[in-house]
Amino acid sequence: MRTLWLELYKIRHKRLFLMLTILLSIELAWGFMAVSTSMAKNPDATTWSAILVTITAMNGLFLPTGSAVIVSRICDMEHKGRTWKLLLAASVSRKAVYAAKFVSAAVLIGGAVILQGLVIVAFGIGYGLAEPVPIGLLLRFVAGTTLTNLVVIALQQWISLAIKNQAFSLCLGMIGGFIGMTASLFPPQVGRLFIWSYYVDFSPVTYQYVNETMLFTTREIGVHLPIIVVLMGISFYLVGSIHVSRQDV
């Protein structure tokens, strides 16, 4: 707990949440513009599902990128300040620092996802959607996105701490964003090999084209996918933590 507070103390002036908010604001502005245009052309698509599908697809690009930037900033300060030796001399365990960094990144990005959910609700109400706010769908959207994010953070943190040169972790984030954006183009068996495609896979709403019209349907995710993702997350976290703890400083 003390390490977590210290970690939050270290990042207090870095304006990470502000940066994430700006990134997600651009995403939402872009997404809402696309949804508004689509709804104006096709009044049948004036539903919450249309908003959720669009934002989920855009999350596939923006959240891996945002996570890469945030995690890189949280981890790079130890490399730049050469503080690992200092931390070890102060009897701080590297696993505790690793956990604290993971939790602080997860809190920041999780907070941004919740904020995103609230902005979606505000947009839907402001647009005057006839349906009531689908709380269940929104909660599933936030839960699925957060779960995928946790695994992405675990992977990014491993790379950001293991390799001093942050170009590699950012490159991975960009590739992740690209895979997340194009996830729906992959065959399901291929897509599920990549954690970034789970943003779309966990979407509580899906769509299909019938006679050139988008039809939205809600879907159940089941328990298998979340279990697979949790296992992936635990693996990335443990491998990363053990690897970084054993590295020479």
């Binding site: 870095k14 940066m19 700006i22 990134l23 651009i26 995403e27 872009w30 923006f62 990128t65 945002g66 890469a68 930037v69 945030i70 890189s72 900033r73 790079d76 730049k80 040169n165 942050q166 170009a167 590699f168 950012l170 490159c171 960009m174 590739i175 964003g177 690209f178 194009t182 183009l185």
Partner: protein, 243 residues
Amino acid sequence: MLLRCLGAEWVKLRRSRIWLVLLVLPVFSALIGFANYWMNQAILQNGWYSLWTQVSLFYGEFFLPILIAICCSFVCRLEHVNRNWNVILAAPVSTPTIFFAKVVVVGVLLFAVQLFFLVLYICAGFIAGLHAHFSFPPEVFGWIMRGWLASLTIIAFQLWLSTRIQSFAVPVGISVCAVFVGLGLYVSGLGMFFPLSILTIGMGVLSQESLSLGELGTFAVMCVLFVTTGCALGIRHLTRAGL
């Protein structure tokens, strides 16, 4: 003096393995673009042009600007560590020379990346068997060169950001946001007024129609204007700011 600075930049880069990043991103976008072309050949029937729309879409619109941002952050990384800016600026070299050396180094790296992307595109076309049915479009060389010229505008601004911002990741994050601003401006018909939309126009990413003579002139003027502005901002920051 510029040559000496270029030599110093090269020494800083040579064991950095930045080439891995420079190779991976174009390969990745070419692979995905090629796969998309391969799976949709029934719709994409315009041969080399259709292939270009697929491979250049993600590369020119998304990966290239971010690759530029990563390169620019990278060439300023060592200077930000341990207040090395002070060491560099105390050397008997003029500030503009230091900045221009960075522009040239990133420009040369990006030129190599553009050529590599051209090779990937040609290979993808040969694998798809396009050479048997379609003649190779000469416009591709223009798209590659204009893409590189537009890259120089982004390089100038990204270097300005990277000299200002100590963090490696923040300029890259800004670049991601700028990609979408650029796309918005391109769609609104204001593409010539933003470096990232100029890249879209120059590389023929979203429209493969040839630029008219007037458009080419505007393109060249805007490139020069943006490069000059970016360099001026960067040099001004290095000259005046307390580093």
